[in-house]
């Protein structure tokens, strides 16, 4: 009962906050100047993801990318501008269905960028599929999402089934580890990834362990890792557990390479693990900023910082929808347009298979150096 209430309080606060900003959400962007030509549909695209709350950073990085795409479009079509409608889910699956309904009821919305996370995708996507409203996610990586037969589902990045093998490959070929220890956090995401890595690495895996989310003391796991003599550790999980885990391992004198996935690609991991985070390898299907220099420069000019995790993917998702609007598509015809789409984006060639997965999948390796996450290139 205690934990239910712990959720209920922030939810109530969140609901209040949502109610308060709901009315201004649509006007946060400059509204379409004039009606212009009769053909102008006064269309909107939706941004569905966490824009406030603990996971807001990720949503805002995506939103910045989307805004940049909108600027480009509106510059080219000054007489028929497209506006952005925000659906701030706070990353919370329980809020997602109501927001999905809101988007579906607004007939001006012809497509959605998002939902950003896998959990909220699962909750919102059935409604989108039923309404025929296309949604392109720039960040939700759970492989099972593509297996639901949602005709409106598209994903512009590789899912976890491609990230796991890439992580295994990196450990084998680049780290050249001979003894690998694998730990997961028993979550759908973490265990899924860790199991793929275990399978791919086969006999080089010298030990396994499972921890729990919210665990902070890893004394027994640390002993298991150091006793196994492992020279690399793969952890499938998120940054709140990754930070104390590596900190306690380094305190115990373990010198091997710490390898994690996109769930840890987050500045808070470095802030909390500090010196212990140095040298950590992070795999991510997200494209590093320097792959698309033009995009990087434009992003920097507008937001005064480098593009971050999934900004480029957000830009690409929005661009596909905007191209559809330019081609005169509306909500009903947009699905087929996206399905047939085949153009280079800033992150990769944008073309989808029958399930809505992007066909050109790339996974990149990043490294923590000097308290920053820097790209060390694609894992090929």
């Amino acid at each position: 009962m205690r934990s239910t209430l712990k959720f209920a309080v922030p939810l109530a606060v969140a609901a209040l906050a949502l109610g308060a900003c709901g009315t201004t959400g649509g006007t946060s962007n400059t509204p379409a100047a004039s009606g212009g030509a009769a053909a102008c549909g006064d269309y909107k695209i939706g941004m569905f993801g966490a824009l406030t709350g603990p996971n807001a950073n990720l949503g805002i990085y995506i939103q910045n990318g989307v805004n940049l795409a909108l600027d480009d479009y509106n510059k080219k079509h000054p007489d028929c501008k497209v506006t952005l409608e925000n659906y701030d889910s706070q990353g919370d699956p329980t809020q997602a269905p109501a927001l999905a309904k809101k988007a579906i009821d607004d007939k001006k919305v012809v497509g959605i960028v998002g939902p950003a996370f896998s959990g909220e995708s699962k909750a919102a996507n059935p409604a989108f599929a039923e309404a025929g409203l296309v949604h392109i996610t720039p960040s939700a990586t759970n492989p099972a999402l593509a297996e639901n037969g949602w005709k409106t589902f598209f994903r512009v990045l590789g899912n976890d089934a491609t990230q796991g093998p890439a992580a295994a490959k990196y450990i084998k070929d680049t780290v050249k580890a001979t003894k690998v220890f694998v730990i997961d956090d028993a979550s759908e995401y973490g265990k899924g990834l860790a199991d793929i890595v275990r399978q791919d690495l086969g006999s080089t895996v010298v030990g396994n362990d499972t921890i729990q989310q919210k665990q902070t003391d890893f004394g027994a796991s640390v002993t298991k890792v150091t006793a196994s003599g492992a020279d690399a550790l793969f952890f499938g999980g998120y940054s709140p557990e990754a930070a104390p885990l590596i900190k306690q391992l380094r305190d115990a004198g373990w010198k091997g390479t710490f390898v994690v996935a996109d769930g840890v690609k987050d500045q808070s991991f470095i802030d909390n693990a500090q010196a212990a985070a140095e040298g950590t390898v992070i795999t991510c299907p997200c494209v590093p900023a320097d792959v698309a220099p033009d995009f990087q420069a434009a992003y920097k000019a507008k937001f005064n910082e480098d593009p971050n995790t999934y900004s480029g993917e957000g830009y690409d998702s929005a661009t596909i929808l905007l191209d559809g609007i330019a081609a005169g598509k509306d909500r009903a015809t947009m699905v087929d347009f996206v399905k047939a789409y085949d153009k280079p984006g800033v992150t990769k060639q944008l073309k989808f298979d029958a399930k809505g997965e992007v066909t050109d999948v790339k996974v990149f390796a990043y490294k923590v150096e000097g308290g920053k996450i820097v790209s060390v290139g694609e894992i090929k």
């Binding site: 205690r2 606060v13 104390p244 802030d271």
Partner: protein, 329 residues
Amino acid sequence: MQFLIDNFWALTITGLTLGAVYALVALGYTLVYGVLRLINFAHSEVFMYGTFAALWVVMFLGGKAGGGTGQVIFWIAMMFVAAMTMSGLIAVLLERFAYRPLRKRNAPPLIALISAIGASFVLAEIMGLREKIVAWVGLEDNLRAYVRNSRNAVGLPDIVAKEPVFTIGGYAVTNVDIFVIVGAITIMVILDQFVKRSRLGRGIRAVAQDPEAAALMGVNRDRVIQVTFLVGGVMAGAAAVFYLLRIGITRYDAGFLLGVKAFTAAVLGGIGNLRGALLGGFVLGLAENYGSAIVGTEWKDVVAFVLLIVILLFRPTGLLGESLGKARA
């Protein structure tokens, strides 16, 4: 099993350091139970506030890696001062506003228990929403470093370099390991002597034994209860510093699971018994580590609670029995 034998000392030392934290927090549960027959479920939050106070004072003093020995000692001393003050204050306020008004109206114990659970939420959520609360009063610019991302974990700067001091059975025991274990035991010996010898300690034992007789003998019951909460809070503050040095991060909900474990330790040792809390804490810390080694880390909590049930089956009053009121406490 072979793994446990091969790494016996590593598991023992890390188990004892965590057990020391459990034991210090368990003292708070045990003391309050002794005088009031109340499980103070908000005690986990008293501990959590201590961790934040210790963290903030290091941030405020600009603590960072690579300080000189004198500086490190100063930072740690300030952590103790800040955490003990904060936790002691929160514990006393809890007693004053969540329990005393109920006691004055002779509310049944169950009501006080509900009040404890409610106070626990309120305290945890205030910490979890501190970013917003600070913004309401217009201080967000001054306090940003202390309150930003208030629902995420916050890390203690690496003020202490953990260095191996000696090796036992293949495990390099670090300066922090020694500090935590020796420090916790020292604090508990002081507390034990305080309860045994001082005038206030005698008052605590008197109220625990028979509140009415104690009142007739001129013991100010409210005062004794207040002191009990204060002492429990101060112990939780010390635990918070050891926890931070050992684990390195804290969060607004860090108290919950640790509180449950510490309460378990208190029951394991015999609730109401100070030495029992110490023993229970260490036994629990060790059992968790040994259990993780034998059946897997994901069973850590299961092992702890199965152990509790087994021990209570054979010794319903815990390892050392209930005895705050008895002479040997």
